[in-house]
């Protein structure tokens, strides 16, 4: 027996060596190199991986705050939602920060401010649909010159000299390209046109790629809006090189998928999430959101390419190479919310370059990133049809067969809270007037007698949102945080005169003065804590875990581990209805990015919660990346609001994370081990 095992191990070892040798030539996405963190995602494939090993399970609890950088005075008021992942190159740390989205360069060892650049965009900034400090920036160098590129709230692409912070004179007009100009032949009001971008530009080759974001699409003022498009600019001059239309116009591939000429007026369909680039293949991967109106598609019948599609384009030309639509005729606000992750893996003994797309709907879609072929079958299956007047539903939707969904989807009675039979019974009663069903159950026109709305997990209240996931190029394991939370997908007529050509807005008959004219419409709950009655005595209507980190082997599509992320919230722990019960760690809801190092997966807990000392705050947690076992936790005075990154400087490994929330304004915090 022992011998057999040993033999098998030797065979496995030999096979592994062969496979590693086979994949070594692929020069795939191998994480952040040289101890630096030069792009938002660590590398252009957004692995969020760095092979650093000074900080381990053995010492994580000893981490100390090395420096802090407070962002309050970078704008006219403090910011409480700092989402940046900073970059670190050549000993300098770069980040966006503050309510005007300033750029700062800090000494990465001490946090000392080296330079700051800010743009006061006046009325244009105030009108911006995506405000505050954004998610970060991009870095470019040709070996001599170094540049920082970012998009302002008012939607202008700025190039700065990384050494001085001064705008680069030869880029655009005095260092600035106005992104509201030359935007797929659209005439836009430079001040008020509602387009911007939270995510960072990405530099691939000598191009800088930029997407577009809009006002949130639940309650549009019109069925018409600005069209999304992805553009690439020459990183040296700022000259427009190509435009990829996400809404195909007449003569373009896919135009016929917009029925009733809805391509002519529909907007959105932008790429507001991070774009990924494979420089070796010369391809860029665009995660496209849905068209105007997140929940009602009556004004845009058809599958409406390239909505909610992953589109691969030629990096140099922007010409489409392949696409895959993840959701047909979307009415759930699924979008594609985060970076496609580029990974070089081995499937059935064959090395393959894949792109793995985490999603709000809790599916991980995995494709050959050269051809667009699914690695494991993705089946078109019939889905529930609704009864909203004017809506034309897609009869089928794509279902990945592997990996299985990493988060719960839709809603079933079995998903409901079950700490006690009484709580379950209350939950069952509560949902009587709501529509429930599997994933892709359509939103409901809200009626007092029911359905008030469709209740569903992994839709607008997403499994995974903008932070996306991580990938370990050595073990081929992908890590992604997910939430189980319930959204109310209800439709009501828009307020009188607010949106003449829009038939429905999101909402329910229970909510809002615009709906019922009375504050007393909200259901009351003697225990407190919630509006509109979809929580049970202040507890989430679903059973835990409310959030977890999922580890998925991309060679096989199997789960390696799944663990709840975040100590049980006070609101659950101290709930009178649970007195005397032993509640295991439930996890907490939030948009959480992960970092992978040589041995650890690192992520801050979502929101405020109990801490070991009792101090108000949240913990930065580490897990053994092989097993998911706890590997340490350090205190932070506020929750993680950006994704953690890591680098090495002067022999020390740093972990830097943006924190903020509640009364705690935005701050970058750097942790190191004590001397």
């Amino acid at each position: 027996m022992t011998r057999t095992l040993r033999t098998n191990r030797m065979v496995v070892a030999a096979m592994t060596a062969l496979l590693l040798a086979a994949t070594a030539g692929l020069h795939g996405q191998s994480g952040a190199k040289k101890g630096e963190w030069p792009t938002y995602g660590g590398d252009l494939g957004h692995t969020r991986y760095a092979p650093l090993d000074q900080i381990t399970a053995a010492n994580f609890n000893q981490l100390e705050v090395k420096w802090r950088f407070k962002t309050d005075n970078l704008g006219p008021r403090p910011e409480f939602n700092l989402e940046s992942t900073p970059l670190m190159v050549n000993g300098r740390l770069y980040s966006t920060a503050g309510t005007r989205r300033s750029v700062v360069a800090l000494d990465a060892a001490t946090g000392e401010l080296i330079w700051v650049h800010g743009e006061n965009e006046g009325a244009r900034g105030a009108a911006a649909p995506r405000q505050l400090s954004g998610r970060g920036l991009a870095y470019w160098t040709d070996g001599k010159e170094e540049r920082i590129l970012y998009v302002t709230p008012g939607y202008r692409l700025v190039a700065l000299d990384a050494k001085t912070g001064n705008p680069v004179a030869g880029f655009g007009r005095s260092g600035i390209v106005d992104l509201k100009e030359d935007f797929d032949k659209q005439k836009l009001d430079l001040v008020n046109a509602p387009v911007g971008l939270h995510s960072t530009p990405i530099v691939g080759g000598n191009l800088v790629l930029v997407g577009a974001a809009f006002e949130t699409g639940a309650n549009p003022r019109s069925r018409a809006n600005v069209r999304g498009a992805v553009r690439a600019f020459d990183v040296r001059t700022g000259k427009l090189v190509w435009t990829f239309r996400t809404i195909p116009q007449p003569g373009d591939f896919g135009n016929e998928t917009w029925e009733n000429d809805s391509w002519a007026y529909s907007g959105n369909t932008g790429v507001w999430a991070q774009i990924s680039v494979d420089e070796e293949l010369g391809m860029a991967y665009l995660p496209v959101e849905l068209p105007t109106h997140d929940y009602y598609g009556g004004a845009r019948p058809g599958n409406t390419l390239f909505a909610e599609s992953l589109v691969a384009v030629d990096l140099k030309t922007g010409v489409r190479k392949w696409h895959f639509q993840l959701v047909h005729h979307g009415i759930w606000d699924m979008d594609i919310p985060c970076a496609p992750i580029l990974a070089d893996v081995v499937v059935n003994g064959r090395p393959v370059k894949v792109v793995a797309q985490p999603s709000k709907q809790g599916f991980l879609y995995v494709f050959d990133r050269v051809t667009g072929q699914p690695i494991w079958p993705i089946e078109e299956r019939p889905v529930p049809q609704g009864d909203t007047p004017g809506e034309k539903y897609s009869r089928t939707q794509p279902f990945p067969t592997r990996p299985l969904a990493y988060e719960r989807q839709g809603l079933a009675v079995n998903d409901l809270i079950d700490f006690t039979p009484e709580l379950r019974a209350e939950a069952v009663k509560l949902i009587e007037k709501y529509r429930i069903g599997p994933i892709f159950t359509p939103p409901a026109v809200s009626k007092a007698e029911g359905p008030i709305a469709t209740l569903a997990m992994s839709t607008q209240a997403p499994a995974t949102n903008w932070p996306g996931g991580s990938f370990d190029p050595e073990t081929h394991v992908l890590y992604v945080h997910s939430n189980a939370q319930v959204a109310q997908l209800g439709l009501v007529p828009p307020p009188e005169g607010a949106a003449p050509d829009v038939r429905y807005h999101q909402g329910t008959v229970l909510s809002g003065a615009r709906r019922t004219g009375g504050s007393g419409s909200a259901t009351t709950n003697a225990q407190g804590g919630n509006i509109n009655g979809i929580d049970v005595r202040g507890l989430p209507i679903i059973k835990p875990p409310y959030s977890k980190i999922n580890a998925i082997n991309l060679d096989t599509g199997d789960f390696v581990w799944q663990v709840p992320h975040g100590e049980t919230p006070d609101a659950v722990k101290n709930n009178p209805a649970l007195k005397g019960l032993n509640i295991p760690r439930t996890g907490r809801n939030g948009a959480i990015g992960t970092l992978v190092t040589k041995t650890l997966v690192i992520a801050g807990e979502p929101g405020y919660g109990p801490t070991p000392s009792g101090a108000r705050g949240s913990m930065l947690r580490a897990y053994d990346k092989r097993t998911g076992a706890d590997a340490g936790a350090v205190y932070m005075p506020a929750p993680q609001s950006g994704s953690p990154m890591t680098y090495t400087l002067n022999g020390k490994q740093y972990i830097v994370v943006a924190i903020s929330g509640g009364t705690y304004s935005g701050e970058l915090v750097a942790f190191t081990l004590p001397n």
């Binding site: 403090p78 105030a126 995506r130 949130t216 309650n219 909200a522 609101a571």
Partner: protein, 138 residues
């Protein structure tokens, strides 16, 4: 000498605190009328981002439910009012009066099923610093 000055200061400051009895959000600290005004203001100025159901959307967090109240548990209401007053609405921060912000806060409390009372929420500076946010009735 210094200690005596400090002691006198503490006495004076203490007297001020005693005058404001500590309360929680469960003590009927807003009126129904105020919450109704706040609901209208919320729909006009806040709902676009935070959603009609206060459930949050793409670019704005929920303003009710366990996650929201966990984040504010134990804080004083003045801090929440200040946060709203100085940073919201995002397209025109600081454009609402203290009274209007107090009305919106009353709507949030009403939506959170905290009981109304006979006196409206006082938006004047410092007035809410002794009111603690508690998700559950103490």
């Amino acid at each position: 000498m210094d200690r005596r000055v400090l002691a006198v200061f503490c006495l004076v400051a203490g007297a001020g605190l005693v005058a404001q009895t500590p309360r929680t959000v469960w003590d009927g600290i807003y009126t129904e009328e105020q919450a109704a005004r706040g609901e209208k203001l919320y729909a006009e100025r806040c709902g676009k981002c935070h959603g009609d159901t206060l459930g949050g959307q793409e670019a704005a967090p929920p303003l009710t439910g366990p996650t929201f109240y966990s984040n504010w548990e134990g804080e004083n209401l003045e801090a929440l009012l200040d946060r709203i007053r100085t940073t919201m609405p995002q397209d025109k921060p600081g454009s609402l009066s203290r009274a209007q912000n107090a009305d919106i806060l009353a709507h949030l409390l009403h939506a959170g099923s905290f009981p109304a009372g006979p006196m409206p929420l006082d938006g004047q500076a410092g007035a809410l610093s002794t009111v603690t946010i508690r998700m559950y009735k103490p």
